[in-house]
């Protein structure tokens, strides 16, 4: 059995206790999307301020476990100031790290393993241990799926 340290890295506990980019933005100008984990009740809302193709700012509110909250916080730091193309790349390598990946509706999805360097992931690497706890993968990917939702809603 994998140990708790695999799951609850220091960085995770830090982001859980001190979530970055917490809050809301008025919509508009922000766009937003709400994400649920239907099976456990975790909920979060992602607010994005786009400047052309760049995520100029991001705020997140909601409630959830340490993994879903810290993953949201880590994500907010990782995507802020990035272009949508860069974000898409980050999403891909994040999901690849989560290997048993799930899509927006929480189902398993075949994910092509892609090549990436740990450096690209930055602090996100702290979530690597989640893979050993399959039920928690949904917690870690909730914020990312909600981000995708926000961008898709805007596109359509």
């Amino acid at each position: 059995m994998p140990g708790l340290e695999d799951l609850y890295r220091e960085i995770i506990l830090d982001h859980y206790r001190n979530p970055r980019n917490e809050g809301t933005f008025p919509t508009p100008p922000a766009i937003k999307a709400e994400g649920h984990n239907p099976l456990c009740g975790d909920e979060l809302t992602v607010f994005l301020i786009l400047d052309g193709d760049v995520i100029k700012d991001i705020h997140i509110t909601g409630q959830g476990c340490s993994i879903s909250r810290s993953s949201a916080s880590l994500m907010s730091v990782a995507v802020k100031g990035k272009s949508l193309k860069e974000v898409d790349h980050l999403l891909k390598i994040f999901k690849s790290m989560m290997s048993i990946s799930t899509n927006a509706s929480g189902e398993p999805e075949a994910v092509e393993p892609i090549e990436y360097s740990e450096r690209e992931l930055g602090e996100l690497i702290a979530l690597q241990g989640v893979v050993k706890f399959p039920v928690r993968i949904k917690c870690a990917t909730l914020s990312w799926n909600t981000l995708v939702q926000a961008l898709e809603d805007r596109a359509s």
Partner: protein, 419 residues
Amino acid sequence: MERMNTPTTATPLNVTEIRKDFPIFTHQNGKALYFLDSAASSQKPLSVLQAMDNYYSTTHANVHRGVYQIAEHATELYEGARVKIGRFIGAPNPARETIFTKNATESINLLSTCLTRGRLKKGDVVVLTEMEHHANLVPWLIAKEQFGIELRYIKVDSEGYLALDNIDEILSGAKVLSVTLASNVLGTLPPVAHLAELAHKHGAIVIGDGAQFVPHMVTDVTDLGLDFLAFTGHKMLGPTGIGVLWGKSELLEALPPFMGGGDMITDVTLDGFTPNELPWKFEAGTPPIAEAIGLGAAVDYLQDLGMQNIREHEIKLLSYAFERLESNFGKNIVIHGPRNIQDRGGVISFDFRDIHPHDISQILDQSGVCVRAGHHCAKPLMRHLGIAATARASFHIYNEPADVDALVDALGKAQAFFG
């Protein structure tokens, strides 16, 4: 009911012996399993698995239609299980009034569907409570959306009891009261016999959701004053895939059928059909035959122990758990629901510091302690409590003080970990 479920001469359960009957406790390769999630689903004794295996290995055939011996025997076993299970809840006519479904959820959907096809009119009022499981909410929300019934809710007070001060107002003009016999979150045991009496005065029929009650206490539908009772096999030592709906014959007879198919008809033409007699009218298609037989064996097992003894056992565990949790963690733990142990079933939902229930459950799992974390399929109640999730420990016959000790120790670790 109160009286029956708090006997003075209970025989203590021999948990050491009981645990030997449950293969899961001996299959853990020496790892301890502190299973505190029976409110989600109970474990199964060997006798239940054997009853099903025996059935499949010696006499499986489809029921009701075969003239040959194994089919005849299968029918006897299936119908025999029905009578046994009906008697277990005190059904006056067990052979006619005990309907097999796939789970408690189907039992309630059957009622919400058939009542709106038959007895209820648009705008009729159905009364529920704020502490219902989704199984006793969503079917009625669908009936509201599809058919146009109205819903009223009995509120939950700050101590986790139903708020009954304005009950006559709520019941006034109501056609149905559907209420849980035991809350799966708060443990609360609503005063169902009293509510039923009131509801009947107002001309409403009374449905009990017994999913968390029937597995743990003496159940007598007449004493409880019920018109219908829904419960589920897998929470009472029985297999998955089977639930039960009991109803008074006159009421069941007056309802139109639920699903259509084989066995629920006496005649079918290309233009219409004539429904079968009770109970088969409500059992379309091949029923859960082995599951009914397995549930029959589960009822035997429970009855051998004695439902009053089981209740007494759980009360002792509850008292011990309250004592240990509160003396160890004081203000760091908030236990939801009534403080009076006699007023609650064997579930303890709690908030622990500000640690999220998922994290608690994860850390507890590390020590082999299984508790549930989440909204427990009672989102409206969670909103009322102002939280998104709780952790919940729940008991059954195979639990013992050691399970509570393991829970307390593991919570200690969580506290240390999240600091």
